[in-house]
């Protein structure tokens, strides 16, 4: 439902931006899926890094710093899997040769632009921002579940499975803090 409960109650929706876009799985090659995941993780890293700087509350700041580090680790994992699948030991071209870089660095989970999400976050409460992050992690979890089902190769499947579990854990941690602050 557009605008969520506030729209239902007759208010102008001022909640989190709708996750208006969804991954629709046109990627068929493992390399393509890995490159896409890497680019989205890269965007999420930038988002969490900026949020951590924006937050005054130490617990929320700490969580965003932690999530940023975790997404960095995901990028490393994805890069290693790409090297394994492509059979190359040096891959400085990754991911540019697999997916067009435009608008690289400004897209994160759900096809949302990092710059738009940060602009929206300015002046919002930590609860609003935690809620937006929860929707991003939900998208991320969904993306890796889809990729796990689609990718061929046992190792790549295991990697996507592990990543989906970690994104689920991120969602749980964000939910915990959100509930604590309600």
């Amino acid at each position: 439902m557009e605008g969520g409960i506030r729209a239902w109650e007759g208010f102008v929706a001022e909640g989190i931006p709708e996750a208006g876009m969804a991954y629709f799985s046109p990627a068929t090659r493992a390399e393509e899926m890995i490159a896409l995941a890497w680019l989205l993780e890269d965007g999420s890293c930038r988002f969490y890094e900026s949020l951590a700087k924006m937050m005054e509350d130490q617990e929320t700041k700490g969580l965003f710093q932690n999530l940023k580090r975790s997404e960095e680790n995901h990028k490393t994992t994805l890069w290693k899997v790409y090297e394994e699948i492509s059979g190359k030991t040096s891959t400085p071209e990754f991911p540019d040769t697999v997916i067009s870089k435009e608008p690289r660095g400004d897209v994160m989970e759900g096809g949302m632009l990092v710059s738009d999400a940060l602009k929206w976050s300015e002046g919002k409460t930590p609860e609003d921002i935690l809620q937006l992050s929860m929707s991003l992690e939900t998208n991320s979890y969904d993306l890796y579940l889809k990729m796990e089902r689609k990718v061929e190769g046992r190792n790549a499947k295991q990697v996507f499975k592990a990543l989906s579990e970690e994104e689920k854990n991120h969602l749980e941690r964000l939910t915990y803090l959100f509930n604590k602050r309600l």
């Binding site: 239902w8 876009m21 046109p26 939910t175």
Partner: protein
Amino acid sequence: MSILDYFKPVSTWPAEKIREFLNQKSPGEYNLVDVRQPKEYEQGHLPGAQLIPVGELPNRLGELDPTKPTIVY
């Protein structure tokens, strides 16, 4: 392909359309799911909505009837 080519818009219904749909149907004809947190649900929810917080969705999908339309908010 550009990174944005991997995403497509998700279609959503405005609140008025949902209201009209719920008025025309009986509760047994659809799944109405509130994916927010329990405290938010307690503060107010759509009539008859079933609470399944987003983090619990993967494990509780079996509670929804896949043959019926599902409305989520």
